[in-house]
Amino acid sequence: MSEFIQLVIAGLTTGSFYALVALGYTMVYGIVRLINFAHGDIFMVGAFLGWTVLTTLAATHMPWGIGLLIALILSMILTGGLGVAVERFAYQPLLSAPPLSILITALGVSLALENGVLLIFGPGFNTYPQLIGSAGFVLGGAHITFIQVGIIILSFLLMAGLYLFVHHTFIGTAMRALAVDRDAARLMGINVERVIQITFFLGSSLAAVAGVMEGLYYTEINFFMGFIVGLRAFTAAVLGGIGNIPGAMAGGLLIGLLEAFSAGYISSRWTDVIVFLVLIGTLVVKPTGLFGERVVERM
């Protein structure tokens, strides 16, 4: 029983990271029909920006709580800005080009971000300061740390906030309108470019939060860290039904749990095979993912 609880906690923690990153994939896809392959690396850049701010502030002897908050906010803003810049310079000119061209550009951006960070920060690992210890409590024989609980709660709050934003604000409504029909939205007077930029900003900011949390929780960050998280998050977004916000959250948590259970009860080396088989199986049964809706084509 204690092992089961331990696995659930591990799964929810990693699942929270996947879910936050998956939101970025799903929002961008919903609005511009682009699989933003660079999104995992945006997450990585978020972690590095947070690290830079934190280590700079560490020299000023500021209370670490405030330093952390500043690092988180600055990383969100800067990473959000990076997302917008990538959209503006690399994707926007290609929005009407064949979809594969923009996909390859996204792969190029991914490679450029990874190697850019490698050039600036070096190929090795950088480590976050040990701000939060492993203090925690015992539940049903399982050891749970406060930071795990914090990560899960913060992710849920952010996801709920995003959901409310998309459904109860003007910009959110505009985003949903764009997702249905970009041209119609433009005719209705929506500033399409602006809404796309806001989408990229939001998605990238959420990835930055995930990146900083990842740095705090696991301590070590590396230019390559976005790959696995990006891949899992992308899988999560598709599993939940790409373009669907609750789907991305559910998908992320599901993948996290799946990963923990397969590592705990089967074998860690088969995790990826299991995750992909579950994904393929789901898509065969429900081709649009768990929460996706069927698109009827007009003839």
């Binding site: 690992f125 492993s134 050891h143 301590t219 860290m225 998280v229 923990a260 705990g264 080396r269 995790t271």
Partner: protein, 382 residues
């Protein structure tokens, strides 16, 4: 749009071709190391050691009246790039190739060099397979994984008195090889191996695996992978309040492990070939290296230094840069006094005596721990 690129690339390709035709007034030693990609830092440490060795040799008059010229090629730790790097060095007329970091690139490089009859001295590729293919052109200044494995097993059973052990690897060539050799030696020693499986490197969260392993109640958890995951495991094991002793192979011996795990790193033990700073013969080397490059040498730097020195000696003994003569002379190397101890190659090309010690993380730093003395007793490393 097309043509400018071709025109731009063409002179480069031609220049690369022309470079190989330069005069043979130097003795070329090829050094294939990763200079791009995730292992570039390790590759640079190795290359710098090679350059330092060449400078030292050249400062004392060179070999056969000629200067040593290090021909460095990026192999990116990749099979395809490695073969091309090897080919480039063969075409460049190297007398001997000495260096490398990854076994994965080393193997295809070795095959290409074997086909061309060029000797290859390995400095960091510890996979046993490289010297067990029956090739006569391969030599190695570092120990093999299948020597470290039994040492680690002996340490667990003999020193830690473990009855139940969990061995985790990361399914890379090095890690799986070390794990396999450790597990078979443990079983031979009568130790119960309760867990022997792989994790995916880069996955960050190993608490699921660790929880499961802990439920099997081992006294030691031995991770044979690299330092990044080792640090995470130390950190996550502490959060899970796990009891077993944690340890790892030589690839876990890196300051990153300590930075990642913080206080949780204390008590982590590594089996390793002695680091430069723990090698009595390498004091001067560490000083020179640090002075010249501004950083301390990497774990494999002294092995590369020895590899280059031996390469130079072999050329000198052969009195020729003809690779086949250099191979013959390498087989006669006996009791060469290197930074890393006495070097004699056996018929397969491996060192007859490989030295291993253990180190332990104490007060946030690696400190020498224990080693086996000649009498088979565990004694503290001085």
């Amino acid at each position: 749009m097309i043509k400018p690129i071709l025109y731009a690339a063409l002179p480069l390709l031609l220049a690369v071709g022309a470079a190989s035709a330069s005069a043979a007034d130097t003795i070329k030693i090829g050094v294939p190391v990763p200079l791009s990609g995730p292992y570039a830092a390790a590759g640079t440490d190795i290359l710098n050691a090679a350059k330092l060795a060449a400078d030292d040799i050249n400062a004392s008059g060179g070999v056969l009246g000629k200067k040593i010229d290090i021909m460095a090629e990026d192999d990116g730790c990749d099979a395809q790039m490695g073969v091309q790097a090897a080919q480039k060095m063969i075409d460049g007329g190297v007398a001997v190739v000495a260096g490398g970091y990854c076994s994965g690139a080393g193997l295809p490089e070795l095959i290409a060099l074997h086909r061309a009859g060029v000797p290859f001295i390995l400095d960091a590729q510890t996979n046993p397979k490289l010297t067990s293919m029956g090739f006569n052109n391969v030599f190695r200044t570092i120990g093999r994984d299948d020597e470290q494995g039994p040492f680690a097993a002996k340490f667990m059973s003999g020193y830690l008195h473990a009855k139940k052990v969990a061995v985790i690897n990361d399914n890379t060539v090095y890690s799986k090889g070390l794990a396999d050799n450790t597990v078979s030696a443990l079983k031979k020693d009568g130790v119960d191996v309760v867990y022997d499986d792989s994790v995916t490197p880069g996955q960050m969260d190993y608490s699921a695996v660790l929880s499961h392993v802990a439920s099997l109640d081992p006294q030691v958890i031995d991770y044979t992978g690299y330092f990044a995951e080792a640090g995470l495991m130390a950190k996550e094991a502490a959060a899970l309040h796990l009891k077993p002793q944690l340890m790892g192979g030589d690839a876990t011996q890196d300051p990153t492990l300590i930075k990642t795990a913080g206080a949780a790193a204390n008590g982590w033990i590594c089996t390793t070939a002695p680091l430069p700073q723990f090698l009595t013969g390498a004091k001067q080397f560490v000083t020179d290296f640090t002075k010249k490059y501004g950083t301390a040498p990497g774990p494999y730097s002294p092995y590369e230094y020895d590899a280059i020195e031996i390469a130079a000696k072999a050329v000198k003994d052969a009195g020729s840069t003809d690779p086949s003569k250099v191979i013959a002379s390498l087989h006669t190397i006996k009791d060469y006094k290197g930074l890393t101890g006495n070097i004699t190659f056996n018929s397969a090309g491996d060192r007859t005596v490989a030295v291993y010690i253990t180190v332990i993380v104490k007060d946030q730093a690696f400190a020498p721990y224990v080693k086996l003395n000649a009498a088979g007793q565990w004694v503290p490393v001085q």
